[in-house]
Symmetry: C2
Subunit: 409 residues, 2 copies
């Protein structure tokens, strides 16, 4: 494993420097893939063990009441709320991002029955598009999923649009949409605005309430560090609580789940977004992971994120021939990742991973680097570029074993 | 805590007696609620810790490939398959029972587009009925959810029925439907048969393939002991793999998830039932828990289950005045639970729990006792009835604090 530098002048005044110790990261690894799977917060294993051994093992079924499992979805939701600018009582955690999108898209379409167009863009994460296609086909009412290029979204919002379904940060390029502007445009056209915060929540401060977003969803296992496949979350703006109803009408979303009525009667407010019993062990890891954010100043988080990304771009462009920036150059238009194009991107990423620099690859030719300000330093950035430059200079990526695709890329 | 007898003649020849040591059960507790939340298998905490610390913490994103997370849904599915009589390749684990029902109900209705009736019974668990109502209302195509009494299901199957949606074991009474007979009747009438195995899987051998069930779903956290809110499972009979498509079209159900196509193209076979990223920590607990069944003879399991239930009924009826059997008297018509009616059932159950006998209550008046043959003994049955008889004789249930309903009952 490469020995790399451990200090950089820009790290000296970093107010988040101490947060690195809140994570267990393996030695010899520079982890630039927190946008795919966040790193392990150091206190999470003990918390999960407590839930497994004591709560499940000893309290058994009683833990639903005695250990507050029954409030978990709301409790975690409110914790996430602080990071995405949502006042309490508008978010529940649970299910997957895909499932949550189905709920809010169906609820949103029902609020605009006279319109048939779902507007999204080609930079959206495919599962969002797939879920919309699945719902469209299921409904069989002539809905259209209209896809435009990301830069054409603003102009494509007109009075034909029922719902805008936009992911704020592009998973490949890190390009960031202007939530406030697009939401205002949607509302001006009479449309409902759904935001996917998969690459936003925990990466920078989001302002759902202030932007007047209608619905939002997001991921628990990226910048929130909730663990592999961590439950997702769903936001319903309070003004829709009386009227928005989603079709996955499970018992936890019933107004009185333990009355065991034969007829569904939706719960009030965001509780109606709950469906089946949530996976408590995974929920517990997410809940514990969120505590890392308790004392984090989100403005400082964003400032460090920008600083890391800018340094990375500068260093790569000055030392790594053949890589072409795929992310916006303007930091205001980026999330917390930087992507470059490279024709043999897959092999390059395998060579990087073999040397301890973990990013990932997105077809057809994008190498993607996520910068989680909680545990990545400027020294890490320099060290990563040192290795990247060496791999390029020696063509170390050009080996057959680096070109065999794994199942998960 | 009550000291109770620890041996009974019927336990002497119990081939499953050693399995008790495979579980961590708290001292002083007789756990008769494994039908609500299965007990903790003793090796699960270490396994979960391994997944948290080593797989997540050290391998990070690489674990999807190196630790086989990507095959987890199918791998767990096949393990469950052995217990429910499904040949490999027909089950995936993931999501909740409610969500899985939505998938198979939508897929089944699409196979019978000319019919509009979903047949179920009033003994079904409410979430199944709610999900069907949600789908019916979403479709807006005039579907009807027809509910009959459990004993009327067989006669209600006629050529108007698109889908029979039946839970094999009644969550309140333990009454068990005849899967082979009802499935044959459904097919004779041209209907599709969906089975909910929430209270069946792991409780006794189920024979999905042999009964020619079309679709099935089931729960991971009851008799499978997968932990609180453990992921559920979904079965699609192989003969439907080419034609059944479910509408929750997430990226994990895509034919090539990591190609990131803009258009959904369903995976072949049961993989199309996958949606979003599954909660790996909860999945890992379920996977580990299933190993307890590896050397279990399911015929012996069922024999012990019947023996425990019969003994419990006999003892309660001879010593506990005021309780009226709510379960079928004939063991062939029961799952692995016994329920009694008692007007102050809620308070009675609280009094039992306070004395270490954990069962649960189901409105309006049912006290419910689940018998998990892997960790419940005949001595436990006698001890539980000793305490129950004492509570009844002393009216110890008649206290205000036992009558205040908790959120989860």
């Amino acid at each position: 494993m490469t020995t790399h530098i451990t200090s950089h002048p820009l790290d000296a005044g970093d107010p988040l420097a101490a947060k690195r110790a809140a994570f267990d990261l393996p030695a010899g690894v520079i982890y630039l893939d927190g946008n795919s799977l966040g790193a392990l917060p150091a206190h999470v294993p003990a918390r999960v063990e407590e839930v497994v051994r004591t709560q499940w093992g000893t309290s058994l079924i009683r833990a639903w009441n005695t250990h507050g499992w029954v409030e978990m979805q709301r409790r975690i939701g409110d914790r996430i709320g602080r990071l995405v600018g949502a006042a309490p009582g508008q978010i529940v955690a649970g299910d997957s991002t895909s499932i949550n999108l189905f709920k809010v898209l169906a609820a949103a379409l029902a609020l605009r029955p006279e319109r048939k167009v779902i507007l999204s863009d080609t930079g959206n994460f495919p599962t969002d598009l797939y879920m919309a296609q699945g719902l469209r086909d299921l409904l069989g009412q002539g809905h259209e999923l209209r896809l435009v290029a990301p830069e054409e979204v603003a102009d494509a919002i007109d009075e034909s649009i029922a719902v805008t379904m936009i992911t704020q940060v592009d998973y490949r390029t890190g390009r960031r949409h202007d939530m406030k502007d697009l939401t205002a445009r949607a509302h001006a056209a009479g449309a409902i605005a759904i935001w996917d915060l998969a690459h936003s929540a925990g990466a920078f401060q989001v302002e759902l309430d202030a932007c007047q977003a209608d619905f939002a969803i997001g991921c628990g296992y990226k910048y929130l560090n909730g663990g592999p496949g961590a439950p997702a979350f769903v936001y319903v703006a309070e003004r829709h609580h009386a009227t928005a109803v989603q079709p996955l009408a499970g018992w936890h979303g019933h107004d009185a789940p333990f009355a065991f009525d034969l007829d569904y009667r939706p719960a009030h407010g965001v509780d109606q977004m709950k469906v089946g019993t949530p996976p408590v062990l995974s929920m517990a890891a997410l809940e514990a992971a969120l505590e890392v954010f308790d004392d984090v100043d989100m403005t400082a988080l964003r400032a460090k994120s920008v600083s890391l990304c800018e340094l990375f771009i500068r260093e790569v462009e000055s030392r790594c021939e053949g890589l072409v920036l795929a992310s916006p150059r303007n930091a205001d238009q980026r999330g917390s990742q930087v992507s470059f194009r490279f024709p043999e991107g897959y092999a390059l990423m395998q060579a990087l991973i073999a040397r301890g620099v973990i990013g990932d690859f997105r077809a057809p030719d994008i190498v993607r680097f996520g910068f989680t300000p909680l545990y990545v330093s400027h020294a890490d950035v320099i060290a990563a570029v040192d290795i990247l430059a060496d791999i390029l200079a020696t063509r170390a990526w050009d080996r057959p074993e680096y070109k065999t695709r794994a199942k998960v890329t």
